[in-house]
Amino acid sequence: MIHTEHRDDFGAKMGMWLFIFTELLLFGGLFIVYAVYRSQYPDDFHIAASQLNTFIGTINTIVLLVSSMTVAMSITAIQKGNKKLAMSLIAITIIFALVFMVNKYFEWGAKVHHGIYPGSELMLTLKRGELLFFSLYYFMTGLHALHIIVGMIILIVAFVKVKNSKINNSDYVLLENGGLYWHLVDLIWIFLFPLLYLIS
């Protein structure tokens, strides 16, 4: 038997799906905590949630949704062998991710400016439920932002590999997995956005 380099695209994708599953459970733990405290302090949560900037939140939601589309398009492009288009679509996705992070920076910056950040004096004087809401807000969006950064790194790696033709129209599972990860980041935001911004 001639020994060839082992390659199993299906297995690789299966591994990625399992990994995504663990990520969902990771955030699932936070959703449970959110649910418990929301039911314990419904009024405080209502007041605190109304202080979030729904406008920036909406913009960011749109940004992420569109970026999910562009990353999916880049996979189709590479399947069709259009390397240049794939590269520019990945680049656009990365730019969208940057826009998201910049918005986040301004949103968090404004909160911090008002003295609402974990460990601040003002936070400890707030009502218990409000304190928990803002803590969860920082923790959940912070963890999500961390995932955005990881996603950006993966996309940058994918970009370089497409450029070097390491990812090409016969071997593109890495880009697919990167795309899956990006969709995950998007999906989690889809849940965070209504829970934190809209329900109030």
Binding site: H3, T22, G28, Q40, G119, L132, S135, F139, L143
Partner: protein
Amino acid sequence: MELAQPGQDFLSAQSYNAVFTVHGVIMIFLVVIPGLAAVFGNLFMPIMIGARDVSFPKLNLFSFYIYMFGAVLAVISLFIGKGAPDTGWTFYAPYSTQSGSNVIAAVLAAFVLGFSSILTGLNFIVTIHRLRAPGMTWFKMPLFPWSLYATAWIQLLATPIVGITLLMLVAERLFKIGFFDPNLGGDPILFQHLFWIYSHPAVYVMILPAMGVITEIIPTFAKRKVFGYKAIALSSVAIAAVGYLVWGHHMYTAGMSGTARWFFSFLTFIVAVPSAIKVFNWISTMYKGSISLEPPFYFAMAFIFNFMIGGLTGLILGSLATDIHVHDTAFVVAHFHYIIFGGMGFAFLAALHYWFPKIYGRMYNHKMANWSCVTIFVGFTVLYFPQFIVGLQGMPRRYFDYLPQFQTGHFISAIGAFILGIGFVLVFMNLVRSAKTGKIAESNPWGGLTLEWQIASPPTVENFDEIPVITEGPYEYK
């Protein structure tokens, strides 16, 4: 040791707390959770399913590196800052949010080790799905990989929960967030729930591979087809599935509704069923077998014996009324160590003696191995059995001092600990010496039928020159 005599002997109360915490963290997160699955799983699972390696070898290496990183963190937590953590390995809030000791390092170590565990689980699942040799259907797969498959799912599904919980704990300590501190509006019981959602299944992460090893050893030494192959395979999956839902039995006394307690108790009893199925099947496999008494078989017997005691005392703890009496006593300590040490520990030794000639290509001294097995078994029993009794008499666990009436039990335990230590020295000496200078072993010293015995010892880098084609089940002894 400290408990051999009443009063303060060697350790202060604070260092006693630190010692049992670090013992717990290191043993649980560093030794018994990854022990069997990562050591023997990575080595033999691919061989037993007829693969050259796991699906993601690089990921495997990466998980090893983060495991080492976590291990270093855990050890560092002992020495830096304001002293070793003193919360117990469960890191219960709110004390863990307030203790001045080094909780963050220990918690982060547990988090990192958990991540490593997830990656290993992921790797195993994909490997077992994708890389089984041609012809090896699910029900022609040996039972050790089956148990690893069930284990891997638990690792994958449960570990993220404890990961996020521990992160919340760290955030709480750093920023005074108050997820779990009642003074800040949080709920410490929530921490217990989130913690046990992982940490109870983690017990099955420890014991399932152990059961898998025993299921390999018994047919090999009884030269009989394993009794109830499908029942054993599926009971592993059943334990994984039900075991995921029994975490509440750690919290009967913590404050839960009567319905919830009833429910958790019921599920706890349910999970005993597949475990019992396995025990009965092992014994039935030996019935009318041609048993050859070799060291791995002795270890396997000790496993079954200890596991039965551990399992049955588990039911005492699992039922609501009796648990109230023995909750947080030395009885729990004894039960736990019968399962983890008497079960997983003995299975680890059994696996070590079973696969040793395959790993090193050399054979150890059988007589010495038998003696070390006896010594460890005696030491173990003398150490932990009295704990059941003092536990029933009301000795609380994690206390650094006690009333005079508990002295006899503790003194006997201390003697057992010494015997146990001698036993381990024997094992260690025997195996280390044999790895270098032992007799060269043939490739199949026990006459096993699973794939790992059909290749050279030690295995070559790629395991198989040619991937085998499987036509029959793994235990077709004639």
